[in-house]
Symmetry: C2
Subunit: 247 residues, 2 copies
């Protein structure tokens, strides 16, 4: 964390859980970003109440409406962020928004497979495309030649549940659609890392652990300290306790 210096960051799914925790972390840094963009589906709704409270105290927090399954919404969000940034670029895109359904092999459906994949995998692809110009601009404006989160990066929030080798927590409802979407997200991240490296954009997937959130539920474990309190990070200068999966 000590090494992380970002002027701007966008977090998707920022109104709750890990996303909200990350927003709180960035706002509380000794040297906070000039812009923290918190994207969520319904910025004025009841479920964004905490985000609204934070925004009233932190003028550098901007809430952005975003539906990650809708290409038009993604493009509109990128345009809005670009307006706020003026001529500057975006340092960090954190694709955190995601859903999980505890479907087993027996009761998994076409509809749920499609919905989970669209949110967890296609969304991060489309967000990468839409924000690439701003990420490239940040990379071009950085004095560092090395890839880093302080320069320009895409962080895809994955899971060891998407590791074919580990199949983390298989007995926790199987969650076939979720696992398939996260395995695909890991592959997408690898593709992004191969394709965007030339533009100076770091692309990594992270496993945050089983965190106590709405999604994590009652069975989740708070391992060590919460992610936004961790002083060391496995992913260069990214403030996260989870394991780096890729590249």
């Amino acid at each position: 964390m000590a090494g992380l210096q970002v002027c701007s960051v966008l977090v998707t799914g920022a109104n709750q859980g890990i996303g909200l925790g990350l927003v709180r972390h960035f706002l509380g840094m000794p040297n906070p970003p000039k812009w923290v963009f918190a994207a969520c589906q319904d910025p004025k709704g009841q479920r964004a109440q905490e985000l609204q409270n934070l925004a009233s105290k932190h003028p550098n927090l901007v809430i952005i409406p975003l539906e990650v399954t809708d290409p038009a919404s993604i493009k509109a969000a990128a345009a809005r962020v670009g307006e706020h940034l003026g001529g500057s670029g975006l340092n960090l895109l954190i694709n955190n928004a995601g859903i999980m359904k505890l479907n087993s092999l027996d009761n998994e459906t076409l509809e749920d497979m499609t919905q989970v994949y669209t949110t967890n995998t296609i969304g991060p692809l489309l967000l990468g495309q839409a924000f690439l110009p701003l990420l490239k601009k940040a990379a071009q404006g950085s004095p560092s030649s090395a890839l880093s989160c302080s320069k320009a990066a895409i962080i895809n929030m994955s899971s060891s549940g998407g590791s074919i080798e580990e199949v983390y927590l298989w007995n926790y409802g199987q969650a076939v659609s979720y696992r398939c979407s996260k395995a695909a997200l890991n592959m997408l991240t690898k593709c992004q890392s191969l394709g965007y490296r030339q533009h100076g954009v770091l692309c990594v997937a992270l496993h945050p652990g089983w965190v106590q959130t709405d999604m994590g539920g009652a069975g989740s474990q708070k391992v060590g300290v919460s992610p936004w309190q961790v002083p060391q990070s496995p992913c260069a200068d990214f403030p996260w306790e989870g394991r780096e999966l890729l590249p």
Copy 2:
């Protein structure tokens, strides 16, 4: 190949390419299956002409209409196969049907990501669900206690293009949607292997190599002999030259 003895096999996407090659292989075995079910989208169409020719010569070949993206079509196919089998089970389900789009990171779309995933990943899930009762019946009727293709198995046709480590042929058009779908298919296969083992059903994913077919295109390489001529197999008794990816 020498050890393979199946009474019944179903191949999806059987009217061309690898699927048609597999059908030819099974029909040409010294001890051919009692039933070879060749599933394709339009059994009476021009693109199934070779399959129709084969069926006129081989009474054990049954052409089954199947759209792998349509749950109702899958259920109808399972019912039809069940009728042919009478009280017997199905030994082998080969999920071969698949599509590829040479989209790059830049021009990949929500629509193509969805279509490729539905065909390459969701289809094999739904086919596994629909044919599980027949596969279980075959497993129960087998004298062998060990898992094998001769007893009851699901073979998912994957690709090293879906290997996150290898990213096989990255420069061949990137094919992001295809890679993500195959990485997800590998995960699905792992889930099926964990879930269906208790029923005596072997589940594996195979990389067939870059074969000279419509999909493989002009750049494909015919490595060694064609897959349905190979006498040895890496996947127990399955007649295939490709590498076994899972489990």
